[in-house]
């Protein structure tokens, strides 16, 4: 994991703001925790963590509109042409560029959408005669809740697949392209970044506001959605 080639005294350029990094690593902790609590029937904790996850995901979506430049969907969701050029090596492979590459952007979007779908399905999952139920379970018919529960289970397997692709890509960069993508996600800095544009200063207050909105929506659902 240590790659001396990219350690630079100059520090490089800033790629990821603190909120993106915190979000990323909290998700890394949360996914195994969600899986473990479900596997071990710790449904109270599964649901508590799920509601926190919902708040975090809403924050991330809002941060995708109001956050710093590399966090914004408009900066990293590219058309199919750009993705193909990137994958076939026709374009700059992102050596000096900052932010998600065109393929990675879609991977991030897919992960976010899938996690939101998972949390959304979980809200309605379960059966009142058979264990725990999500906070909105009684808002839908028992058959609807039944298929949502099944999709909640299927969805996790798909999510694991996407995560496997995500990690494979990071390892591919590390071992084949000799570029460490993990370190910038920790420090926020990219040593060989050559862009002159900075992250676009967005205040921490804006991040806290996005987080607050996420927490408020999550809490509202948790307490029965009015």
């Amino acid at each position: 994991m240590m790659n001396d080639a990219v350690t630079s005294a100059s520090g490089g350029v800033k790629v990821w703001d603190i909120w993106i990094r915190l979000f990323h690593w909290i998700i890394v902790l949360f996914i195994p925790a969600m899986w473990w609590t479900a596997e071990n029937n710790e449904m109270t904790w599964h649901m508590r963590l799920g509601m926190i996850l919902l708040a975090l995901l809403i924050f991330r979506v809002l941060w995708g509109f109001f956050g710093s430049s590399t966090a914004r969907f408009s900066s990293f969701v590219k058309g199919p042409g750009a993705v193909m050029r990137y994958l076939t090596g026709g374009a700059n492979d992102g050596e000096g560029a900052v932010g998600h590459n065109p393929a990675g952007g879609w991977s991030v979007l897919a992960l976010l959408v899938l996690m939101l779908a998972q949390v959304g399905l979980g809200l309605f999952s379960g059966d009142p005669y058979d264990g725990a139920t999500g906070p909105l379970n009684d808002r839908v018919g028992v058959m609807t809740a039944g298929w949502m529960t099944e999709w909640h289970e299927i969805g996790f397997n798909v999510l694991v697949g996407l995560i496997a692709i995500h990690i494979s890509a990071v390892l591919f960069y590390l071992f084949v392209k000799r570029r460490n993508l993990v370190k910038p996600m920790v420090t926020g800095m990219k040593a060989d970044g050559v862009t002159s544009a900075d992250l676009g200063t967005v205040s921490h207050l804006a991040a806290l506001l996005c987080l607050l909105v996420g927490a408020a929506i999550s809490a509202w659902i948790w307490f029965g959605a009015g």
């Binding site: 264990g131 299927i154 996790f156 397997n157 694991v160 697949g161």
Partner: protein
């Protein structure tokens, strides 16, 4: 850290392949309701995608699965048996939520519940609980309190018989009340003999 990540992935991989296998069996066994046809198509797409991802993610040898002792077949059988009861019970409640409950469907599902309820007793040989290391929620209390377990089982058999009789009579209000009694018999056993999932 990389090594740890890979090991973790491997472990998840086995878990995941297992989940997909279970789902396939469940979906294959599943009776299709009226509104389920379009969903089946979606599910197949989902499963296809998941299967492709399995291939891309797991690659070659996956040792995790071979480490475990082979699981007694009875565990899968009894879980499928309970799954069928659960699906049938849900189908009945689904009918009752609608404007015009399909009485034939309610009776058919009540028959499934009754038939499967009677099979339960033979599905719990000693040494097949979660404490024996299997993927099961069966608590040791099943074998520590065999008389209580037998009486809880008997309560379900009786409740499912009574429910089937009510279903055959065709009075929607009475069937609705019967759902509560039947569900109570399920819960009664889960409370003591199945891993608490709260």
């Amino acid at each position: 850290m990389v090594v740890a990540d890979l090991e973790y992935q491997n472990c998840l991989c086995a878990e995941w392949a297992w989940n997909i296998a279970k789902l396939k069996v469940r979906l294959a066994n599943r009776k299709q309701g009226k509104s389920e046809n379009s969903l089946m198509a979606l599910r197949n797409i989902g499963l296809g995608a998941a299967a492709l991802l399995t291939l891309s993610a797991c690659g070659s040898g996956d040792e995790a699965a071979t480490d475990d002792a082979p699981e007694p077949a009875v565990i899968d059988q009894r879980q499928d048996n309970f799954e069928e009861i659960s699906d049938a019970f849900r189908a009945i409640r689904g009918e009752l939520e609608g404007e015009e409950p399909d009485m034939a469907a309610i009776v058919a599902n009540a028959e499934i519940i009754n038939a499967n309820a009677m099979k339960i007793e033979g599905f719990f040989p000693e040494g097949t609980g979660m404490d024996d290391g299997y993927d099961s929620e069966a608590l040791a209390t099943i074998w520590e309190q065999p008389e209580e377990f037998a009486s809880a089982h008997q309560r379900l058999v009786s409740a499912s018989e009574a429910f089937l009789a009510t279903a055959n009579e065709g009075d929607v209000a009475a069937i609705g009340e019967g759902v509560g009694d039947l569900g109570g018999a399920c819960k009664n056993c889960h409370d003591t003999f199945r891993l608490d999932d709260e």
